[in-house]
Amino acid sequence: MTYRWDFTPVFANWTLLAEGLLNTLKVTGTALSCGLVLGLVLALMRLSWHRLASWPAGFVIELFRTTPPLVQLFWCFFALPLLVGIEMTPFMAAAVTFSIQSAAFFAEVFRAGIQSVERGQWDGARAIGMTQAQAMRRIVLPQAVKRMIPAFMERAIELMKTTTLVATISYADLLFAANEVSQKTFRPLETYTVVALVYFAVIFLASLLARRLELRLARSGESTVH
């Protein structure tokens, strides 16, 4: 028994798939940018000496790292609207869930990056009379951010994969489109194969770019003080 592959129905529906891809990028982009900002806030809270800041931040970070993303998404989409009385569209639920989730991971990357800057830099900054905030802003963070770029790119690529979960709450991303097209054309094999390859192409390219950037950063030299 040989199966006759036929990709034409899939390609006939390419607009559906293209829209899906766009929506995937939309969710990823939103979650990335919100996550970065929120992640920095969380990291600074986590590093602060005030327990009112570091404990809640620590709790949020731990919570989002020890629960499965799909459970978070479902809770956000089904439970949260009832709790706070807001109408949640699939996009909103996805954006909120993945922003906070990315933030939890980015917070740890920020923290590791900041802590990796050697103590001597703090000394140098404080010795000329800088406050903690000035030292952080002018001296430590700029150096930390450069080191964190590889980890950020890794997380960003992870995020592109995690956002496929939004198909489960009927957000029209690429995977959801795959579902639709597969049911429409009765060609699940071709549809899912094509979609898998599209995801692979996009994400593989992104990770190649990330690796190229990482090499470029490494070559430009981690300037050491000694």
């Binding site: 001597g120 010795a127 000329i128 009379g129 001296i139």
Partner: protein, 246 residues
């Protein structure tokens, strides 16, 4: 005229009492060399003076005013006391002139042009005017330390603290840094210098202090301490450093 007065300074790290009731008075224009074995508390003493370490007990008085513990006050005190570190601690993401300007811009709130002009002047003073746009990664150890000195000088400190400024340098680079420090000495600046360069200490210092067990074991003029030490521990310390000929 007393610029700095230290009374009964005490500091411990865990179970290790590094400073035990150390008292010291520094007059304007004095140049004090601080010697001692490793672990004797030399660096800790220096770092307590600008409160980079918090003393457990004792007081530090600058120009008649006792220094409190609040960060807002300490930030201002550190503008008046300059510190040069063994490991330079230059900011690698800024050029040499950027490093020197940083304090002026961020802490003293100078305008960009004003800060730059002043920074270039300080770099010229340590002989590095041509390296202004160079990043620390491309500077030699001696050059890095001179930039660090320029950075400290840019803040117009009343007191300079040198924490083993040449210990991390290759021998052939030590000289240029000592020359820079010597020119500051000739200007009459008040300084405390923790060093192992005994010859330099002998020629530049007005007073030499030998630390042991967290207090001042012996102090006096360079001749008194380095040439004719009275106490036994001072003598054995100096004997161990015989390779630095006077």
């Amino acid at each position: 005229m007393t610029l700095l007065k230290v009374e009964n300074l005490a500091k411990r790290f865990g179970s290790n009492a590094v400073l035990r009731g150390l008292s010291l008075a520094v007059a304007r224009g004095e140049r004090i060399a601080i010697l001692g074995a490793s672990g004797s508390g030399k660096s800790t003493l220096l770092r307590c003076l600008n409160f980079m370490e918090m003393p457990d007990a004792g007081s530090v008085t600058l120009d008649g005013q006792m220094i409190g513990r609040r960060e807002s006050e300490l930030v201002k005190v550190r503008q008046r006391i300059g510190m040069v570190f063994q490991q330079f601690n230059l900011f690698p993401h800024m050029t040499a002139v950027g490093n020197v300007m940083e304090g002026l811009r961020t802490v003293r709130r100078f305008g960009k042009a004003e800060a730059r002009a002043r920074a270039e002047k300080e770099l010229a003073r340590v002989g590095l005017a041509d390296k202004a746009e160079t990043y620390p990664a491309h500077l030699s150890g001696g050059q890095k330390q001179r930039v660090a000195i320029a950075r400290a000088l840019a803040m117009d400190p009343e007191l300079l603290l040198f924490d083993e400024p040449t210990s991390a340098l290759d021998p052939e680079l030590v000289g240029e840094v000592l020359t820079a420090i010597r020119s500051l000495a000739e200007e009459g600046r008040t300084m405390l210098l923790v060093t192992h360069e005994l010859g330099f200490a002998y020629h530049v210092a007005t007073r030499v202090i030998f630390l042991a067990d967290g207090t001042i074991h012996e102090q006096g003029t360079p001749d008194e301490v380095l040439k004719y030490p009275k106490k036994e521990r001072t003598q054995s310390f100096l004997a161990r450093h015989k390779e630095f000929s006077l």
